[in-house]
């Protein structure tokens, strides 16, 4: 028996076990997709069969009718947060990387610690003050306001990821630019920024996902207003609609599309970012 196990484990048993583990983890997602495509809008039918007899798109049509405005709002916010966060993070990462070479390690250590700490500030502790400040600055219930607030999630992370990435660019390149008389700005713009594109993609993907998935600021800083990011839209769709849960689940699928795309096309960036952001500081 032991020998049988040893001989066949790698070929059959391990993959089957792996499939079972993955299947269990993804069961809720399967349920979501299946229910969003199921023909009946009555909820009782959802659990009747594991595989629906045929698929319809009516739930998605309904989700689009209901939520297309919030999809656009969320896209604008997420893209704005990417531009703002990466726009701030990229030069900062360059400055911190080069300062580390120039007798300024204490400055860099402090900066890294500050960035790590900002990631640990709970959003609820910020959002009360944001609400009051934005109220007076007329930024409540506005897309720019949400871009500014959502960047609190993305900016520190983007800086850390980009800094970790720039550390892997050989410094002979910047030395060469320096020897040729390039200014720091020129070196940054023409040498480092083009080389840092993979790092920029990683940072941008994460900032996008953070802002796209943000609920706290979307919920609090638009209270009572008509700017509705998709996360807030899902909640109101769900709480106002106890009949057609298929439509709600179709909206959930739409909200998950960016994650799915990133998983399909950007996985190595995600994995790299996870490790760089979490471990390398």
């Amino acid at each position: 028996m032991v020998r049988f196990w040893q001989r066949h484990a790698r070929r059959f048993v391990l993959p089957i076990g792996g499939l079972v583990i993955t299947g269990l983890m993804l069961l809720p997602i399967y349920f979501t997709i299946e229910s969003s495509l199921a023909p009946s809008s009555s909820f009782q039918a959802l659990s009747q069969s594991l595989v629906p007899s045929h698929f319809v798109l009516s739930n998605y049509r309904m989700a689009f009718d209901q939520e297309s405005g919030s999809i656009i709002t969320s896209l604008l916010i997420a893209l704005g947060a990417v531009v703002l966060s990466v726009g701030i993070a990229l030069p900062a990462a360059y400055g911190l990387t080069k300062l580390g070479y120039l007798k300024s390690r204490a400055v860099v250590s402090v900066a890294i610690i500050v960035l790590l700490v900002t990631q640990m500030v709970p959003g609820i502790s910020l959002t009360l003050a944001f609400y009051k400040l934005f109220f007076h600055l007329h930024l409540l219930n506005s897309i720019p306001g949400l871009i500014l607030a959502d960047s609190t999630n993305g900016m520190p992370f983007a800086t850390l990821v980009l800094r970790a990435y720039m550390g892997s660019i050989p410094d002979q390149l910047t030395d060469a630019a320096y020897v040729d008389g390039a200014s720091e700005w020129r070196t940054f713009r023409s040498v480092i920024a083009p080389l840092a594109v993979p790092g920029i993609v990683t940072a941008g993907l994460f900032v996008f996902l953070f802002a796209w998935g943000d609920f706290l600021y979307a919920y609090t800083l638009t209270a009572g207003g008509n700017v509705t990011p998709l996360t807030k839209g899902i909640l109101s769709f769900f709480t106002n609609n106890t009949v057609n849960w298929g439509g709600v689940l179709a909206t959930v699928v739409l909200a998950a599309i960016p994650s799915g795309l990133i998983l399909s096309f950007g996985q190595r960036y995600v994995m790299g970012g996870l490790r760089a952001g979490a471990l390398k500081g």
Partner: protein, 350 residues
């Protein structure tokens, strides 16, 4: 142009050599094993060989130019972290009703009111139980998955990449999925349990504090498993296989290999994973709002949602700010230990 470049003086040639070889060969060091000296740019304590006024000026010019690159980030951190946190503190020592108003200074009254409020105590207890249960199961299940997938087999890479999906979902989306699955009548979980004859009548998952907290914790565990699994997997990959092989040649069994090789070497990564898990978990907000909205009767409030409820729904903003600040202080204590645990990496990175 002065050919004596400060840059060359600052970086000793022998270190530059190792650095460039490292870059060419592409040797990736395990982050936790990185030593500051290997990064080759530490010149503190070394007298500049041709130090002169000119050199000093050039060095400081460059430092000033580089600091300018950091100024936007610094401005953002001051405006969107430091200032709101200070502002939030001043809100917590005032009597404020509606959030946009200001009120008279009342010292730490809001804090003492909230510490004696039974709902705050329940929220604190809920948060503690939620935290411990989430972390325990996320970590153990994540570690199980990580070690299972660290044995390479057919499809392992593909399946491993699918497992991170729950973590990439917007939490509000995951919360909505489970809110529908756990629905009291006609929810798929109740239906399944009934058809398996495990229960005779539907369970109403959200009618008691205990069940509501169970559901919230369950969903949070599901969300957190991938994060733990991915980081622990990479931690396992960093452990040299030779160590395990050597110990099994010495007659160590699977448990002994785990106990004496894997566990101690995985400790640094585990610490970081757990501390990041604490931070993510303690911030949880969306799940509670969509699953229970803090109910029934405030029975599933966490500190974060309770601060929100006080400020935005009960119009007791001062007290809400006090609760939010208590949560902030807790997070900063965790942050302190996180920085301490990673300080070698920070030093190496600088």
């Amino acid at each position: 142009m002065n050919r004596k470049l400060p840059r060359e003086e600052l970086t000793p040639p022998e270190r530059r050599a190792t650095w460039s070889v490292r870059a060419k060969v592409g040797v990736n060091e395990a982050p936790t094993l990185a030593r500051p000296a290997d990064y080759g740019h530490d010149t503190s304590g070394r007298p500049a060989r041709r130090a002169g006024l000119w050199h000093w000026v050039r060095l400081h010019q460059r430092q000033a130019a580089l600091l300018a690159f950091v100024v936007p980030a610094l401005t953002y951190v001051i405006l969107f972290f430091a200032y709101p946190l200070i502002y939030g503190f001043t809100m917590s020592v005032e009597r404020i009703g509606f959030i946009a108003q200001s009120g008279p200074f009342i010292g730490f009254h809001n804090y003492s009111v909230e510490i004696n409020d039974p709902v705050t105590r329940e929220a604190l207890l809920n948060t503690a139980i939620f935290l411990v249960a989430s972390l325990f199961f996320q970590f153990t299940i994540g570690l199980g998955i990580a070690s299972y997938f660290s044995r390479r087999f057919f499809l392992s890479g593909f399946l491993r990449s699918l497992i991170i999906i729950p973590w990439l979902f917007p939490p509000i989306a995951s919360g909505t999925i489970f809110a529908i699955m756990f629905a009291g009548q006609g929810g798929i979980i109740d239906e399944t349990l009934q058809s398996l004859h495990l229960i005779s009548s539907p369970i109403f998952w959200f009618d008691s504090s205990f069940k509501a907290m169970f559901v919230i914790t369950f969903v949070n565990i599901w969300i957190g498993i991938p994060f733990n699994a991915v980081l622990l997997y990479s931690g396992l990959q960093d452990i040299p296989n030779e160590l395990r092989e050597a110990s099994s040649l010495d007659g160590a069994g699977a448990w002994q290999r785990f106990r004496y090789i894997t566990a101690p070497l995985l400790r640094p990564v585990s610490l970081i994973v757990i501390m990041l898990g604490i931070i993510y978990t303690v911030k949880t907000f969306d799940l509670v709002i969509v699953l229970t909205n803090g109910g029934p009767d405030n029975g599933s409030q966490l500190m974060s949602t309770w601060a929100y409820t006080l400020a935005f729904q009960n119009f007791q903003t001062g007290q809400g700010a006090a609760v939010a600040n208590m949560l902030f202080v807790f997070c900063m204590i965790v942050a302190f230990f996180y920085i301490r645990a990673t300080r070698r990496d920070v030093a190496a990175a600088a």
